[in-house]
């Protein structure tokens, strides 16, 4: 049995200290409140990911981690297909979207970068309209083909980058470090924007899309995340401090954008939460919305900077 390197373990340790502190603060500040439920769910999420990360060392295999990330993709896609209006005629067409998940994560597992990049943007793009034409139903065709392809892009293609990120450097610690970095920076950015907004929020920044979001929350979040990114970047990634600062800034802003896109969808559909999968958080999409932007962006930046073959 081996363990991931010290940087990954120290970061995980730090995360648990942070969680314990947050749990204690929430219990004192607002016992029985929404925040307590929310933090309890964080324990579940962090626990699950810890096991998956450590399993890479224990088993000497990425299989548990890849399957976990594929399952997150599945939950996100299922939630998306449940909330959007689908056509009765497309019921079987949806199976192709679901089948794209094992295929996509198989290409990730065998590190086939080419197929990973083209399966959904090219092959699914061509395959989906064909199967839909075969149903013979033209009413609502354009709307259906657009929403289905976009859903696959966001929940399978975008989120799939998390799993390929682990394989980029070609060694265990490097890969786990990159994954841990992007997950922590993105999710703590959500938390930081939420807390700064609660504390100082006055000026609404997107009143029509997400009335809870404030300029103060965004700015506070961006500053916090940029600082955090410099520290975590040095610990977990090969980035120099100014690269980590720039990437932190970018992920903070785009995480916010990802959050807003899912908010816009929910507004459009007149629903409050995308689902009820995670107590205190709402649905899976409510939790991974910022990752749909952050994961592919960070992947392609870090690949361009450090891991281009040749």
């Amino acid at each position: 049995m081996t363990l991931p390197g010290p940087a990954v373990l120290w970061t995980l340790g730090g995360l648990y200290v942070f969680l314990i502190a947050a749990t204690a603060l929430a219990r004192i500040g607002d016992p029985g409140g929404e925040i307590v439920t929310r933090i309890r769910s964080w324990w579940g999420i962090v626990g699950l990911f810890t096991v998956a990360l450590l399993s890479v060392g224990w088993l000497g295999s990425w299989v548990v981690l890849t399957v976990l990330l594929a399952f997150v993709s599945f939950l996100a896609l299922k939630e998306y297909l449940t909330i959007i209006p689908t056509r009765m005629a497309d019921r079987r067409v949806l199976v192709w979207l679901y089948l794209a998940i094992p295929l996509q994560f198989w290409f990730i597992y065998v590190e086939d970068y080419g197929m990973f990049m083209v399966l959904i943007p090219i092959y699914l793009l061509l395959w989906l309209p064909m199967t839909m034409v075969l149903t013979g139903e033209t009413r609502g065709f354009l709307n259906a083909v657009g929403t289905l392809q976009w859903g696959a892009m966001m929940t399978v293609f975008s989120l799939g980058h998390l799993a390929f990120l682990v394989r980029l450097p070609g060694d265990v610690d490097g890969g786990l470090g990159l994954l841990l970095y992007v997950l922590l920076v993105t999710e703590l950015n959500d938390v930081a924007q939420f807390l700064w907004g609660r504390l100082l929020g006055r000026v609404r920044i997107a009143p029509r899309i997400s009335p809870g979001k404030s300029a103060e929350g965004l700015i506070g979040g961006v500053l916090t995340t940029t600082a955090l990114s410099i520290g975590l970047g040095a610990l977990l990634t090969p980035m120099r401090w100014w690269e980590a600062a720039t990437v932190g800034l970018l992920l903070s802003v785009t995480g916010f954008v990802g959050d807003l896109t899912v908010s816009a969808i929910k507004r459009d559909l007149r629903i409050k939460d995308s689902g009820a999968a995670i107590p205190g958080h709402g649905g899976i999409l409510d939790r991974v919305d910022s990752l749909t932007y952050a994961a592919p962006l960070f992947f392609h930046i870090i690949r361009f900077l450090y891991y281009l073959p040749g």
Binding site: F74, K78, L81, T82, P85, T86, M88, R91, Y98, A276
Partner: protein, 210 residues
């Protein structure tokens, strides 16, 4: 046989309902804690029964009994065995040839069971509710002390509608209504039940599926 049934629900039904489909349950606190009780739900899919039974803890499994159409589920011996022994279904004679088709339900209620009943009588068109038949009022009148909990299910007509063989994952919305009791007349009971279901449908506010 109890062990086979427990294993089937613990290892097949629950993972299927919770992971493959997924539940979005509203008003969990209105579910009966124990039997005897009736649960009346709308019917769209063979999965309906499995979803309803998953709403209750596994320790209550021996008490859970869905009412199943005898002409369909008693069609051959294998299916009848599976329905009665594994699902725990009560085969119900829809033909009216039997003198008293409700007698096996009475026996289950007398033993403290939670009985699931689909008052539409059949699965019908996907995601569309047919008028409720009056059998449920008849049952309630025979057991005026037993609560009838209405439940509105949405999404199973998409996941596995009638005449489909290929299940497609969709998250299922489950809206539980307040328990009703038989108040002395069947018309009044049916009006209350229909009113409760209409309220749950309105609360869900789901767009029609076409």
């Amino acid at each position: 046989m109890g062990i086979l049934r427990w294993l089937f629900f613990a290892l097949v039904v629950r993972p299927l309902v919770i992971a493959f489909l997924g539940l979005k349950l509203r008003h969990r606190e209105r579910l009966p804690r124990d039997g005897p009780a009736f649960v009346a739900a709308n019917h769209n899919s063979h999965f309906d029964t499995l979803v309803l039974m998953t709403l209750f803890p596994l320790r209550l499994l021996p008490k859970l009994h869905p009412v199943a159409a005898e002409d369909f589920f008693g069609h051959n011996r294998a299916l009848a065995w599976f329905t009665e022994r594994i699902i725990g279904g009560i085969l119900f004679d829809r033909s009216g040839k039997h003198r008293d088709p409700f007698a096996p339900v009475d026996a289950a209620i007398a033993s403290g069971a939670i009985v699931f009943f689909f008052p539409e009588g059949t699965r019908g068109q996907p995601e569309r509710m047919a008028p409720f038949k009056r059998g449920i009022a008849h049952l309630a009148s025979r057991h005026p002390d037993v609560p009838v909990t209405p439940i509105f299910l949405h999404g199973l007509g998409k996941a596995l509608p009638k005449n489909a063989w290929l299940p497609v994952p969709f998250i299922v919305d489950v809206l539980v209504g307040s328990p009703l009791r038989y108040g002395g007349d069947r018309e009044g009971f049916m009006a209350a039940l229909n009113g409760a279901m209409d309220a749950l449908v309105a609360e869900g506010g789901f767009p029609p599926w076409t």
